[in-house]
Symmetry: C2
Subunit: 351 residues, 2 copies
């Protein structure tokens, strides 16, 4: 096979040039057909398509990437160790949505963990090498340097869960505020009067929004907010347990708990059991995420569902748009977009 030795290749895959020869046209024309350019006559297009089919031609992506300076791949960057990522069902659900949305596309999904400093280092290099056309960021802490780095490198990026109210990156989020309100209003509707809240990690914007929703729901229902019923958690089970214990000590009379995640609720449940409280008899419990845990908990957990799959889809849409927008010109100053999707309360037996 031509060139300087067939380097261990197997079948000698057909090239653009061969397709062109076969179809009796020039290289440029084949390229135009492959890329769906409108400036090709119907007859020529048909001839080329026939040749492509006969030869089983598949474009060489490396060559395309080199020539066109794009990669047809995006990276899902997880700035956490692998362990953490998979411990929270939120992530796998998100990944599923992204995967589904991406399967309608030619884009490939790269999974990248940036948990340790060494991995961060490598990731920075990787991104600097422009090996992906865009980046999806999930679960970013308020002080993470990654988003700014992406901005500096001028790499299209979409973040799930903005870092603040004026996030500089395009973002997708569920309605944390509204979701929290739903949960609290539900508990109020069931006649609960002393509703505690175990928060998420306070450096996560979404957790703050849930606190806001909790507060406003109470206030608008004419209740006063008792700050001692709010206890910080960290989205983990152990955190939920600790927070619940603290709450029980401080406000033994509480009759409901809204936890910022299902995992937190699971921890709270343990603490409640240990304290001899029944669920939902003594204390009603509502979680957040509607993950698998909610269905497996005993009693089954009422929880706020986020449309995670839709969020994944949305992220992909936005990212692809950004990539497409950026391609033709150096059109800086794109309008940032922020999508917020509604939540839904799934009622089960814990409340």
């Amino acid at each position: 096979m031509a060139g300087h030795g067939a380097r261990g290749r197997s079948g000698g895959r057909p090239t653009l040039e061969e397709v062109a020869a076969r179809a009796g046209v020039g290289r440029g024309t084949v390229s135009r057909v492959i890329n769906g350019s409108p400036r090709v006559s119907e007859a020529t297009r048909a001839a080329v398509e026939a040749a492509v089919a006969e030869l089983g031609y598949v474009p060489n992506t490396a060559a395309r990437a080199l020539a066109a300076n794009r990669t047809d791949a995006i990276a899902l960057v997880v700035p956490e160790p692998e362990t953490r990522f998979f411990a929270e069902p939120y992530f796998s659900d998100m990944l599923r949505g992204v995967g589904a949305a991406l399967s309608d596309t030619e884009m490939q999904l790269l999974l990248t963990f940036a948990g340790s400093d060494r991995k961060r280092q490598r990731l920075a290099q990787y991104l600097a090498a422009h090996r992906v056309d865009g980046v999806l960021l999930v679960s970013v802490h308020a002080d993470d340097p990654l988003p700014d780095m992406l901005d500096r490198l001028d790499i299209p990026a979409v973040i799930s869960g903005p870092r603040s109210a004026d996030e500089s990156l395009t973002s997708v989020d569920s309605d944390n505020y509204g979701g929290a309100r739903q949960a609290v209003e539900h508990l109020l509707g069931r006649g609960r009067r002393s509703i505690a809240h175990i928060t998420g990690r306070l450096d996560v914007y979404g957790a703050q929004r849930r606190i806001d929703g909790y507060r406003d729901a109470l206030r608008e229902a004419g209740h006063e907010v008792d700050e001692l019923l709010i206890e910080p958690g960290d989205f983990t089970e152990e955190g939920g347990r600790r927070a619940m214990a603290a709450l029980l000590e401080r406000r033994p009379g509480l009759d409901a708990v809204f936890a910022a995640s299902d995992v937190t609720a699971a921890g709270a449940r343990h603490a409640l059991r240990e304290a001899g409280r029944t669920i939902p008899g003594d204390v009603a419990l509502v979680g957040y995420d509607d993950s698998a845990i909610a269905r497996h908990m005993d009693p089954q957990l009422t929880s706020v569902r986020q449309p995670i799959e839709e969020m994944g889809r949305s992220m992909i849409d936005l990212l692809l748009t950004e990539i497409a927008d950026r391609r033709p010109a150096v059109s800086r100053g794109l309008e940032r977009r922020h999508v917020v999707l509604p939540t839904e309360l799934v009622e089960r037996s814990s409340s």
Copy 2:
């Protein structure tokens, strides 16, 4: 920058050529340094490395891929819809192991779902285009054409969970047979005498091995195997429920159940509850996978743990070896390797 128009690029990344100029050497020499060739003098190497550092040079992977015919990427192919993949914790755990193992490498991980026919089609194209250096296959049914296709395309591949005893692909698996034995022996040790087994999908080799382990453990303990205590499941919760109901109907006196997965066990638990049986009082329950579900179940589920992270690592090791072996020559007929890793029983309150 140079060429036919700076196509929207931002910083004008340095090229090999520029590094060479800076270091006062030829292009070939820089390439040799970058790729760690030993045929470079110490002085030259140092000079090149300095130039690389000064310029912040990062090799362009597309160019490398084109010239060298490799991609430095591997694909994790999941021949299931996204939904199924993430419903079973087994997969996310596996993915975590793979991710961890890969982070010591320059290799990138691509996540590919091949659930629908259309995706299959695309995947086939993708693989035919040799866009990855190797493939990791998980959860493959006995009749899946994918493995053979990979074999034909001569793409290095490692499969997790071989399809049969004489799997043609290099494989990694946990000791399904031994794990099942551990579970049954444990139940026997607790004085249980009528032990049922809800199997996995019967077209999965590992499920068969678990049945074998179940049978042999009973036989070697001097018990006779009651075929009516074996009921097929399909690894799902609903399947577990159905199977358990059937078993209770047929053998109401059973006092223990070994389920082929934790999810199955969760289903069985529901059916047991509905039938008024207590766990572990009336019936002891043992699962398989030791997933998050096991810890969240009530009562907490005794389960057989597979060293999934280690399996992921092992798969990567084997795959990288295959890729490396294949690179230099057309060395066909590589010896297939099959790694089997031990399991461990995690005892909790359900047994």
